[in-house]
């Protein structure tokens, strides 16, 4: 089955979404990430969406839910690299991604997560 790879870097999990995801693939990623947070005892999750041309309500919800599940599992999620056109569209669509922490790029995202995992 098609899957999006999850990389481990110390206490962090890194995901770069590089394919145009269909809904089942998005759900698989959500399940895989929550399992890996527990298995790898991860303190942070970084989701890089810089290669995503669109984020619709389904993918937006998957990102929000993943962040909520991670929080319950004591891990912090940062979403990085959102394209400006995607941000404009998301807000107009009515999806503000409340509760999701974002950073402009991977470097800043990792900094935020490392501060959290050192605490």
């Amino acid at each position: 089955m098609e899957r999006i790879p999850i990389l481990r870097m110390g206490k962090l999990l890194l995901v770069t979404i590089q394919v145009d995801m269909h809904d089942r693939l998005a759900m698989t990623l959500q399940d895989d990430l929550t399992s890996r947070i527990v298995k790898d005892k991860a303190k942070g999750v970084l989701i890089d969406i810089s290669a995503l041309d669109i984020v619709d309500s389904f993918i937006g919800r998957m990102i929000s839910n993943t962040a909520s599940m991670a929080r319950i599992l004591d891990a912090k999620t940062v979403v990085v690299g959102m394209q400006p056109a995607v941000a404009i569209t998301l807000v107009e669509l009515g999806l503000a991604l409340d509760g999701v922490i974002t950073a402009l790029n991977v470097e800043r995202g990792i900094q935020m997560l490392e501060q959290h995992s050192d605490q």
């Binding site: 041309d53 309500s57 389904f58 919800r61 995607v86 569209t89 107009e92």
Partner: protein, 138 residues
């Protein structure tokens, strides 16, 4: 407003993968027509929402991508056609946050905001056709 159709492309909407294919087709068409990135992103996102509705609530159907012109401007028209159960209470279905199927309830209302024009033709037992249009700024 009257306009003529210059070209029509068909995209079946039967599986999750078909939704991805439709998004890709819309992007190709809008790029070829010279639409800007923000307009493309808005309409592809709307297409994704509406194609998913066709699949989830309409039991699958067909998408159409039309190149249109009103003599002054050109635009793109997308149609999402299903023979499903139809929508009983259209006003409710167009309300932000209302969902009959466990989604976020932003598909119809959000798509309406993302397009220039939005039309919906539905009746209980008669299926649903949603049409959106985006005109290109000159």
């Amino acid at each position: 407003m009257s306009f003529e159709v210059q070209d029509t492309k068909h995209a079946p909407l039967k599986t999750d993968e078909d939704v991805v294919k439709m998004r890709k087709l819309v992007r190709e068409e809008m790029t070829a027509m010279g639409f800007g990135l923000v307009d493309q992103t808005k309409i592809i996102t709307a297409a994704s929402e509406l194609a998913r509705n066709t699949l989830r609530y309409g039991g699958g159907g067909d998408g159409e991508i039309l190149r249109i012109s009103n003599g002054i401007k050109i635009g793109v028209e997308l149609r999402f056609i299903d023979q499903g159960p139809g929508i009983e209470d259209l006003e409710l279905a167009l309300t932000d946050g209302y969902t009959s199927g466990g989604g976020l309830g932003l598909g119809l209302s959000g798509s309406k905001r993302l397009a220039d024009e939005f039309e919906i033709d539905t009746a209980p037992g008669q299926g649903t056709t949603v049409t959106i249009r985006k005109w290109k700024m000159l």
